[in-house]
């Protein structure tokens, strides 16, 4: 009958674990452990910083993330989140000024980044007309007199920076620089 040694390869047992008091093999490495504890402290510091920044909205959905911009001629006021999160819903609110409403309607041109990077899901109220062209969409809303507000529900589908441009025809363009977090 063949011995067990001839059936499977073997090698001598080597006790490489460091010993405590030259007595017990533990594999104890206090120098490594102290380096690890320093690393742990650094990680906890980073985590604490992240939580504090998140509470202030530095990663979206907070005070720091909220932004507002307006056309100098008073035609448009835009409230948006300068920091968005990938796949998370948010709202861009556009308030039309007196100069934007003519003949019972308000028109708004929006750059196509609204659809592409920022993933526009719906517009409230429903526009009377939406015309594609000039690198964006020209929406026409039924409107009487200011204040008049339209909302765009977003759900970003691309990570990184996006430049949202809005303007009332024949008025100043409003730029909203938005960063989408992963």
């Amino acid at each position: 009958m063949p011995s067990a040694d001839s059936e499977s390869p073997t090698k001598p047992v080597e006790d490489s674990a460091s010993r405590v008091d030259d007595d017990i093999a533990v594999g104890f490495d206090l120098a490594f452990q102290r380096r690890w504890w320093r690393f742990e402290f650094a990680v906890w510091t980073v985590f604490t910083t992240l939580v504090v920044l998140a509470m202030f909205g530095c990663f979206g959905r907070g005070h720091f993330a909220k932004a507002r911009t307006a056309a100098h001629d008073g035609s448009l006021d835009v409230q948006y989140d300068r920091i968005e999160r990938f796949g998370s819903p948010s709202v861009v609110t556009v308030t039309f000024g007196p100069r934007a409403i003519h003949g019972g309607k308000a028109q708004l041109w929006v750059s196509e980044s609204l659809m592409n990077a920022l993933g526009n899901q719906r517009v409230v109220p429903q526009p009377v007309e939406a015309i594609l062209g000039d690198g964006g969409i020209l929406y026409t809303f039924a409107a009487t007199k200011p204040p008049a507000t339209a909302e765009f529900a977003l759900q970003p589908r691309a990570v990184g920076g996006a430049n949202l441009q809005l303007r009332v025809p024949d008025s100043e363009t409003v730029n909203a620089r938005i960063f989408v977090m992963p």
């Binding site: 405590v20 594999g27 490495d29 206090l30 690890w36 742990e40 906890w44 796949g87």
Partner: protein, 148 residues
């Protein structure tokens, strides 16, 4: 591509969190610590799955995690340093009647934890113990004093 990267990131991030959160004696895991583990897992799952709830996505992510796990095990076998980073090293908590206070404080382990584990392993008093060692899996090994 994105589901695979999300799965690998989620797995590695969880390893880091569990490693950083520190070892506690496994048999003494409190409900609070159980909640922590399940809650972290649940939060990670949401980001990993995203809006893709398909069976395809689930299979891809499970396979990605399994492969990542295999790679980490392979790397641990190839590099002792990497093994120590992922698993840590055993730590001596007590030897010859002396507590290693720096280790115990850093690992957030108290004398009562060691005494409880000693009782669990059949030791009535600390004076019958030569060494108490916090193992990599969170267990505390008790080595009795040799009979002379």
């Amino acid at each position: 591509m994105a589901p695979v990267l999300r799965a690998i990131f989620g797995y590695c991030f969880l390893i880091l969190i569990v490693r950083i959160a520190g070892r506690r004696p496994g048999k003494q895991m409190t409900p609070f610590e159980l909640v922590l583990i399940f809650f972290i897992g649940g939060c990670t799952l949401t980001a990993m799955v995203g809006d893709d709830r398909s069976l395809t996505n689930a299979v891809i992510q499970i396979v990605s995690i399994a492969l990542t796990h295999l790679v980490i095990i392979w790397a641990k076998g190839r590099s002792a340093v990497f093994g120590r980073i992922v698993d840590g090293t055993p730590l001596v908590l007590m030897d010859h009647g002396k507590w290693h206070t720096e280790t115990m404080n850093r690992m957030r382990i108290q004398g009562n934890d060691v005494i409880a584990m000693a009782r669990d392993q059949g030791f009535a008093a600390l004076d019958r113990i030569e060494y108490a060692i916090l193992e990599r899996n969170g267990e505390i090994s008790i080595i009795p004093k040799s009979q002379e």
